[in-house]
């Protein structure tokens, strides 16, 4: 008993109490709410020089191109050729094979850590295919698809993840924190959201030089609660920076449901008050992802300013190799995701067009698996996590500064190198 009498239990006998949101469901077998009922082809396509505010319907709606009959419909249909569609499918199947293999290796103790992008393959593949390789990408940690589309060597990617002597970041980062300057893929960092204003700065540098390259960056919906999200959006708006800012709304930030990231109806809608063109996109629909990025990229390239894209998707697996999602979310969430799976949907579209079939799909899956196994073996010739060889100990002191100052030389001497 306190000095003030009976302590009132929060929420009892009053209409006023502190609201703490909880996920709509943590158990399986539950239906997901709207906006999934917006049909493909619903939205009109504004001109690339429209005012940001003119995209309000797109920000609150959902851009979809593939309909329930696996056909591409509407003004946003990017009219990709069958070859282009097959290329996109191949990338997604290859990413999935890579992720599966890497997670398996992690479970065997051959990687310290891993993060899959199951369910989000179209988000990065569609983006990368809509851009040029000269465009700078400043990614978060689930856009490995960018590297596949831009043609990075699998051996080099795996070498980084097992931190062997061929790791181009010299064993300094956890797995999946890729850096690939040749592919204009900026080094990934773990503090979430910092990349947003950085991408805006990179875009401003392009504009400063009068180049028509753009910058594109990604963060998760959970990260959109960070100040950096606002910094990025606001600076992009103020300077009309040629960039594409992407919120990957995969519903979950580890165990934190998206309804804890913000209280509004749509992450894309947060761009409208900044007068930034904003589109919510069905992230399971490769054609919609591609079309949205193509529109936003052309808009930025032509000097009409930034675009905010929300990729409405679902994190198909755990956050990383370190968490068990069965503790905090429905076990059948991904199977029940009403917008489906990006590989299944693109495959169905190609089959419907008569440009693909089950046999070819199975052959592709087998081929990708073999490629990954071969690349993994080759990567291990440069060293393994368990036995090395690792980057030489001298690299511990290198790259802190361009040249090693005396105090680092002295410390290097103290470890005898």
């Amino acid at each position: 008993m306190s000095d003030f009498g009976v302590v009132k239990i929060m929420g009892e006998e009053t209409d006023v109490n502190m609201h703490v949101p909880v996920p709509p469901h943590r158990e399986g077998g539950t239906a997901f709410p709207s906006p999934h009922d917006i049909p493909a082809g619903h939205h009109t396509k504004p001109s690339i020089d429209c005012a940001g505010e003119e995209t309000r319907d797109l920000a609150y709606g959902l851009l979809r191109v593939l309909n329930d009959d696996d056909e591409a419909v509407g003004e946003w249909n990017p009219e990709l050729t069958p070859d282009e569609l097959r290329t996109a499918l191949e990338h997604m199947v290859r990413i999935r094979a890579y992720d599966d293999r890497m997670m398996m290796m992690q479970r065997q103790g051959r990687l310290s850590f891993y993060m899959k992008c199951l369910g989000e393959e179209a988000v990065s593949v569609g983006a990368a295919m809509a851009m040029e390789n000269r465009d700078i990408v400043v990614p978060s940690y689930r856009q490995q698809g960018l590297l596949f589309v831009r043609g990075r060597s699998l051996v080099d990617m795996i070498s980084h993840c097992i931190t062997n002597s061929n790791d181009n970041v010299k064993g300094r980062q956890m797995p999946v924190h890729y850096s690939w300057k040749e592919g204009n893929f900026v080094s990934i960092s773990s503090p979430v959201g910092t990349q947003f204003p950085q991408a805006v700065g990179a875009a401003m540098a392009f504009a400063y030089r009068g180049e028509d390259s753009i910058a594109c960056t990604w963060l998760g919906e959970g990260t959109s609660a960070q100040g950096d999200f606002h910094y990025g959006l606001n600076f992009a708006s103020v300077y009309q920076a040629p960039c594409v800012l992407v919120v990957v709304n995969n519903q979950w930030a580890i165990s934190t449901h998206r309804n804890l990231a913000h209280g509004g109806p749509s992450f894309a809608a947060r761009g409208i008050p900044y007068n930034v063109a904003s589109i919510r996109v069905d992230g399971q629909d490769l054609l919609a992802v591609y079309a949205a990025h193509k529109w936003a990229t052309e808009r930025a390239r032509a000097g009409h300013g930034p675009t905010l894209l929300e990729m409405y998707t679902y994190r198909g697996d755990s956050h990383s190799s370190s968490d068990d999602p069965s503790i905090y979310r429905p076990g059948d969430g991904y199977e029940n995701w009403p917008l489906g799976d990006p590989v299944d949907r693109l495959k169905a579209h190609l089959v419907k067009m008569g440009e693909w079939d089950d046999a070819r799909h199975e052959a592709l899956q087998a081929q990708c698996k073999d490629e990954i196994i071969a690349a993994y073996k080759e990567a291990e010739t440069h060293g393994t996590l368990k036995d090395g060889p690792f980057p030489p100990v001298t690299t511990l002191f290198e790259d802190v500064y361009e040249e090693e100052p005396w105090h680092l030389l002295e410390q290097r001497g103290q470890v005898g190198i």
Binding site: S179, P197, V200, G201, A202, M204, A205, Y208, F235, W406
Partner: protein, 337 residues
């Protein structure tokens, strides 16, 4: 040669660098059209255009974020943080991103960003316009930390900072902007035009980072200091009659350890002076370095004269600000041993 104060010297350095290198850009809150609240970026926008010297939203985290992005994409940004007290919203971008970019990318990416920021007290600025946060940054590998004490050095060191391919935090002691300050707040304001370091070439020159300067040679005790304290310590030496050697460190990272070691081994006594609070201040690092290298040459325990471990006060500023008297007392304490 021209007579300049630190504001004019910083401005001159920026003009020189804007002329020499078109990848150099400058930005910050009120730093474009208005030329900065202290006028350090004055005239740049008028002469070079608003794409090279521009105003930013009031968001230090955003300023640091775009500086990094510009730096990694071919520019050489000079970002102004209006007061060092306001650098903390950008702390994550500076310490986790800017400082680590080269290392974490295996040397693939780097960002040659210079952060200019006025620091220190003595202007009745209270605790949000007087702080000296240098130690937070000296503790972060990947950053270089520079602090000037006069117009000539300000220009030469700033040019070296901008040319440096590593990120540099460049502190400008705001009490020194318009004139040297010996700690006597009751005395009439002194201007730089009567000081030899107020003579500043209008043309380009640089002063290498990592080099301290002996501003007063002496034999009895070494005073290690930087920023405004260089002038307070020098005055303490002159007025006390103690033959102190005053070393202006100029760069805190990388430190000019040879200059420190040579002097302390010669004098056998050491006093460390800074405005920032004592606990975990940069003086603690200096004391460790001197102890490790000069222990057998020391005649007495090393003394520290610092701000107190309190927030920086407003009305009691002169009870906080290290004074000539406190420095003299510390010197005497080392001499009595």
């Amino acid at each position: 040669m021209a007579q300049m104060n630190i504001i004019q010297a910083v401005n001159s350095a920026l003009h020189n660098m804007f002329e020499r290198d078109e990848t150099v850009v400058s930005f910050g809150e009120d730093a474009g059209f208005y030329g900065g609240v202290f006028r350090c970026t004055s005239g740049l926008q008028e002469k070079f255009g608003k794409h090279r010297s521009f105003d930013t939203p009031l968001a230090e985290g955003g300023i640091m974020g775009i500086a990094i992005g510009m730096g990694m994409n071919g520019l050489r940004p000079v970002a102004e943080i209006q007061f060092a007290d306001y650098i903390f919203p950008g702390f994550d971008q500076i310490t986790n991103e800017l400082a680590k970019l080269r290392y974490r990318s295996g040397g693939e990416y780097s960002a040659p960003v210079t952060i200019r920021t006025p620091c220190g007290g003595g202007i009745k600025g209270g605790h949000y316009h007087s702080q000296s946060p240098e130690a937070y940054f000296t503790h972060t590998p990947g950053l270089k930390v520079v602090i000037c004490s006069n117009p000539y050095d300000a220009k030469g060191l700033l040019i070296s900072s901008i040319e440096c391919n590593d990120p540099v935090i460049f502190f400008e002691p705001k009490r020194l902007y318009n004139g040297p300050f010996d700690g006597d707040h009751t005395a009439a304001m002194v201007k730089w035009d009567s000081h030899p370091k107020g003579e500043v070439p209008e043309d380009y020159y640089n002063i290498p980072l990592g080099k301290a300067e002996i501003v007063r040679a002496g034999k009895e005790v070494t005073i290690l200091c930087y920023g405004t304290m260089v002038h307070v310590a020098t005055a303490a030496a002159e007025n006390s009659g103690i033959d102190a050697e005053v070393i202006d460190l100029r760069t805190l990272v990388p430190l000019d350890i040879d200059a420190i070691e040579d002097s302390v081994k010669k004098t056998g006594r050491c006093v460390i002076v800074h405005e920032a609070p004592r606990t975990s201040g940069f003086g603690a690092e200096l004391m460790s370095q001197v102890q490790e290298r000069c222990f057998w040459h020391l005649e007495a325990p090393i003394q520290r004269v610092t701000g107190w471990d309190t927030p920086y006060p407003h009305s009691l500023e002169w009870d906080y600000f290290p004074s000539q008297e406190r420095i003299t007392e510390a010197m005497r304490a080392t001499m009595e041993e």
